[in-house]
Symmetry: C2
Subunit: 191 residues, 2 copies
């Protein structure tokens, strides 16, 4: 977080105002003037920290995800790819279920939000940190594989979320378990 309390307060006011406005109207219909009026700060203060409204949204999403992913702790020192993946999946399911602000963002900003894309990157990052790196050509395969898997995972979440989360959570879990086993048995058997 910012060290200067004034910056912290200003940003907080602007972020909170944006969340409120997003609940009321479409993101593209929100003007900077409207935002600073609601946040009760000078317009210059906005330009002091951001250049567009999307920057505020970006910051909100990054803060939320940093906060969430920093809470992920693995019991064992090192997990294999399969175990780590399933841990992260469970975490994300919990995150969506528990965090109102995240639910609001996903519901209201839809495709304008980069939240899921950012979550993909975080997931990839964590997985990459945990596992033993293969060498040579397999290193490249791993990179493609992680991108494939992480992005595919988020797409399933997206489908699940935007279809109203009607599929029971156990089924989603089962789906991911099946996916992960397929890879475990076929790709990175030894990870």
């Amino acid at each position: 977080m910012e060290k200067d309390r004034r910056i912290r307060k200003s940003k907080e006011a602007i972020q909170d105002a944006l969340i409120k406005l997003i609940e009321e109207k479409d993101l593209s219909a929100i003007s900077i003037k409207e935002l600073v009026d609601k946040a009760d700060v000078n317009r210059k203060t906005f330009y002091n920290h951001y250049t567009q409204i999307e920057d505020v949204l970006d910051e909100i999403e990054n803060d939320l995800l940093d906060d969430f992913f920093s809470q992920i702790r693995f019991e064992k020192d090192s997990l294999n790819l399969n175990e780590a993946f399933l841990e992260i999946i469970d975490g994300i399911i919990r995150m969506i279920g528990d965090n109102n602000r995240i639910r609001t963002l996903l519901t209201r900003t839809g495709s304008q939000s980069k939240l899921l894309k950012k979550a993909v990157d975080k997931e990839k990052e964590i997985l990459y940190r945990i596992i033993d790196k293969p060498e040579g050509r397999d290193a490249l395969w791993l990179e493609y594989f992680l991108n494939f898997f992480a992005s595919g995972t988020m797409a399933v979440f997206e489908t699940w979320f935007y279809s109203g989360q009607e599929t029971p959570m156990e089924d989603i879990s089962f789906f991911f378990r099946r996916m992960s086993h397929i890879y475990k048995d076929n790709w990175y058997t030894d990870l």
Copy 2:
């Protein structure tokens, strides 16, 4: 396309102007005034058809992808999921290689572009049309599976494209073939 020639010409001028401007500067730095000046149309004409510059980009991307995917024709009457997938992959590789406008958009607009996301949707659509639909619970699995697979595929393309397409195309093909076989052998064995 639009039936009225005036609309067609106006939109074409605006689209072409946007492409030129995107080659010069960042999308977020392009103003509507600038755009209509370059397109040599009245500003009111812009507002007649669009509300934001992003709408123009959207339209360009949709037209490009409609054009490309409408060219995909399968020799056989029906393919299995595996064959259809590999055909589409090959098509996309060709599309990126051949189409200058698509390369420009991918290169210059980066994450601001929804082009790859739209391609995912098109791919999903086609695959869904071709294959025999399973029933009951498996229908749901198929939906999740297609989302997973299509999105994962595009993520690999993205990685490949933005890392400068250094990985030889044969390796990318190999990767996808391996992925598709894994699924063929484990998931939809009978499709």
